[in-house]
Symmetry: C2
Subunit: 123 residues, 2 copies
DNA sequence: TTAATGTTTAACCTATTGGTTAATTAACCG
DNA sequence: CGGTTAATTAACCAATAGGTTAAACATTAA
């Protein structure tokens, strides 16, 4: 899992990490502050790891401030993810506007002894 | 990983599965057809598993047609994911419109012997 | 009925994930 | 300096993910 998009989605696939991100929309925060709501559920190192995942995905930026590590949200990866999803929502609609495509498919099926895929009658 | 959102993001966190989804935006297809572009890389059962993940996330719907399993994309989970992301993009902006919040924070720091989090001077 | 095609299941393997506790590093403060 | 607070690293563990091959199941076609 090396590509940007996979890392983004993977980072978002955990409720703790998502909660941290939402928390960060209300303003930057350091690790202990961020961890506070989760310390009944898990340890501080667990949070450190989650933050590392978010950081690797580019979803947060950490900056040193004295002993503290200030975390800030970075929404750019979200934009790319959204973009991909949008592309994915442009679904092919079976309509007579697309008669061309339909006829081409039909043509193909002749040579395909009974195979009814691609674009069969819906259900 | 039981919640809907986690399942959606997790399903999208794999390039093979994303490619399958994109493929399905061009129209429904059966398993062997879907698998075709990947069979140099992986086996058919691998694809079956990927499809199961997508199905569990509600991103595809499979319907029996004779021996075939016709897969159709369902973009509803994408909508929910996008909605979450949008919420996450509404970032708190440090501005003088929010002077109230700022002053409250400042008030708190008095009792907090030198702790500079929450909303410190940005960098 | 048998053969062929499409798809899934079973059993297994390895790497990764998400968590733990204990120890370590880093910076500040009295 | 020595203690306290902030955060990470190390070493470990169990569960899950993603892949494999071989076998099984389902439906059609001959």
């Amino acid at each position: 899992m090396n590509d940007k998009l996979s890392m983004t989605f993977s980072a978002l696939a955990d409720p703790t990490r998502r909660a941290i991100l939402v928390r960060l929309t209300k303003g930057e925060s350091n690790v202990t502050e961020l961890a506070k709501p989760f310390l009944k559920k898990m340890s501080l190192p667990a949070i450190t790891k989650h933050l590392k995942v978010l950081e690797n995905a580019g979803l947060i930026v950490k900056t040193k401030e004295a002993q503290y590590r200030s975390c800030e949200i970075n929404t750019k990866p979200l934009d790319e993810a959204t973009l991909w999803m949008d592309q994915c929502r442009e679904v092919w609609v079976e309509s007579f506007d697309r008669l061309d495509d339909y006829l081409k498919k039909l043509q193909n099926t002749k040579t395909n002894r009974g195979k009814k895929y691609g674009k069969g009658k819906k259900r």
